[in-house]
């Protein structure tokens, strides 16, 4: 008697989700904004094939060509697209290699904080009660602290490294996922399909994974895309303060802070140009996030 509805209810969400997605995916990609996609693909290529694309090794020093201006303002025929630094290293090559850290930290930190935040938001929203109060009180506590101060304090404890930077950024950013996903779950948990699943004997874990999760995926994708930009700025900020990777490894944020002392001396490109890829990447993810919001979440479309 109970068998047919159970299979029907239990199998619907993900398969519907994928069927719907596959059809929509190609069409969606065609209507995506081209420029942001182009920028993101370029940065990803930089990160993946830095050795092939960079004209010089990132740590190749040549004291004969110290502090050469970039190509577009150079008048002595130097061939350095973004100029060279005080050790004669090619800034452009270092920028290409620097994409690695940003992409790595951007994706892993967003992945980590997204999974932790989503898991807690789903659990908190679905089970409610004491568990919900405990998780949400904790989330409030985390949100009550300026993220960058928290990150600095944690880096102070853990020490500066790429791995710790990812952990610290995730620790500082998961609460926003938990909050938003929980709010979403609260509107879903009393809907008929969830009640039906519960009546037909599905466990809490099953309901969360097969019925609630597919319904918050849209929100999650939008949130994660917008968070990538924030995370890349976060990473650059920590690097800027010297709390990221160790110096010989190129990172955009650190290159900028390192370049600041040359601003007065006229070598402005060291303190400005490594910021351009940060701005472009963040701009691209923001535009993409806005586009996704319009597309996946028509109810909250902005005016």
């Amino acid at each position: 008697m109970t068998a047919p509805p159970r299979t029907a209810v239990a199998q619907a969400p993900w398969s519907v989700f994928w069927r719907h997605r596959r059809r929509a995916l190609w069409e969606a990609l065609r209507s995506a904004p081209k420029l942001p996609l182009l920028i993101i693909v370029t940065i990803l290529m930089f990160a993946a094939f830095a050795e092939l694309l960079a004209p010089y090794a990132p740590d190749f020093t040549n004291f004969d060509v110290r502090l050469k201006p970039p190509l577009f303002v150079s008048d002595d025929g130097a061939r350095y697209i973004m100029g060279t630094d005080n050790l004669g290293r090619d800034v452009f090559s270092r920028v290409i290699h620097g994409a690695r850290i940003s992409v790595l930290v951007g994706f892993l930190a967003v992945g980590l904080s997204g999974s932790v935040g989503t898991a807690l938001g789903l659990i908190s929203g679905y089970f409610g009660g004491t568990l919900d109060s405990v998780i949400m009180r904790f989330t409030d506590m985390m949100l009550a602290m300026p993220a960058i101060l928290l990150a600095i304090a944690l880096i102070g404890v853990l020490g500066a490294s790429v791995q710790n930077m990812i952990i610290v950024i995730a620790v500082a950013t998961w609460p926003s996922y938990a909050r938003i996903i929980r709010a979403e779950v609260l509107t879903l948990r009393n809907r008929d399909f969830v009640q039906l699943a519960r009546v037909s004997g599905a466990s809490g874990a099953r309901i969360i994974l097969r019925h609630l999760l597919p319904n918050v995926v849209n929100t999650l994708i939008i949130l994660a895309t917008l968070q990538i930009g924030i995370t890349i700025i976060f990473e650059a900020s920590l690097s800027f303060l010297g709390l990221g990777v160790k110096p010989p490894t190129p990172a955009w944020g650190f290159m900028l802070s390192d370049g600041q002392k040359f601003l007065q001396g006229g070598a402005w490109w060291l303190a400005i140009l490594p910021g351009v890829p940060i701005v472009l990447t963040v701009l691209a993810t923001n535009l993409l996030g806005d586009w996704l919001r319009d597309r996946l979440d028509p109810l909250r479309r902005q005016v």
Partner: protein
């Protein structure tokens, strides 16, 4: 409306607990230190001692400066507060003004500029804006001093670079919030009654559009306090942010903890004040 108060009310009782959280970090830092000094002590006991001391206003002793870390914080905080307040004022003032103008003259040149600014502003990291400002106004045209704290000329560049991001966010929100409100029936009613246009915009429009804007501005204050860390570093501004960063490098844990604990508490207090502001702006909240 009751959702907003509820959310804030939730955050506020979190107050005593969130003073506890940096203590988590504190336990570990203390533990590290004990380990290096060869002193091991029960974490719970340490925690109790620290919490007890903090409640009595004793935040511990800075290893680096050889003085109480609270008095260090007190010396440095006015500089940060000045910077953050100036940035907040600038971003609220410019953001709201531009936001209203672009909503009122929708599709005009102010609107187009505002849209570009809102998008670009939110993609530029604070420190990059700061560096650009130094290059243009400090080095190229030599208009403004590039480091240190002093008169208004010292404050201008750090405050603008710090507030840049918030300015963009406030502009964007003000615009969409005003567009929403200006579309409603009571605005049409007011216009039909013959209320002057500027009264319609400022009194009928802005006052009703202001709840989300106040929320955003108050949230920005926290991120400005945080963002000040980087701006202070760039402009050698003697505030708590640079104190915290230097303390991390000096492994001066009590100072780091103190800065994080007190600065977070200040933010929680700000949230409380904002909560009260809501009731002032929108009387419905008092009964909600």
């Amino acid at each position: 409306m009751s959702i907003i108060i509820f959310g804030i009310a939730r955050a506020v009782p979190g107050n005593p607990v969130d003073i506890m959280l940096p203590l988590e970090a504190d336990q570990q830092t203390r533990d590290n230190l004990r380990a290096t000094l060869g002193l091991e002590k029960n974490l719970a006991a340490q925690y109790a001692i620290w919490a007890g001391n903090v409640l009595q206003g004793d935040f511990g002793y800075s290893y680096r400066y050889k003085q109480e870390s609270f008095s260090l914080w007190r010396q440095r905080f006015p500089a940060t507060l000045q910077l953050a307040a100036a940035a907040l004022f600038l971003s609220a003032f410019v953001g709201i003004t531009v936001g209203i103008l672009s909503a009122v003259r929708r599709g005009g040149w102010v609107d187009s500029l505002a849209k570009v600014f809102a998008l670009a502003g939110q993609s530029m990291p604070t420190f990059w804006v700061g560096l650009l400002a130094i290059l243009i106004f400090g080095v190229q045209f030599k208009l403004l001093p590039v480091y240190g704290r002093g008169g208004l000329d010292h404050l201008l560049m750090p405050a603008v670079s710090l507030g840049w991001f918030s300015m963009a966010a406030v502009t964007r929100l003000t615009r969409s919030s005003m567009l929403n409100v200006l579309d409603s029936e009571y605005i049409k009613m007011a216009r039909i009654k013959g209320v002057p246009e500027w009264v319609v915009i400022w009194k009928h429009g802005l006052k009703n559009a202001s709840i989300p804007i106040i929320t955003l501005v108050s949230v920005q204050f926290g991120s400005l306090l945080g963002g000040a860390v980087i701006i202070e570093k760039i402009f050698s501004w003697p505030g708590v942010g640079s104190l915290a960063v230097d303390a991390v490098f000096a492994r001066d844990y009590p100072t780091v903890q103190t800065v994080v604990v007190i600065t977070s508490s200040v933010w929680v207090l700000v949230n409380l004040v904002v909560d009260i502001l809501y009731a002032y702006v929108d009387p419905r909240i008092r009964y909600g």
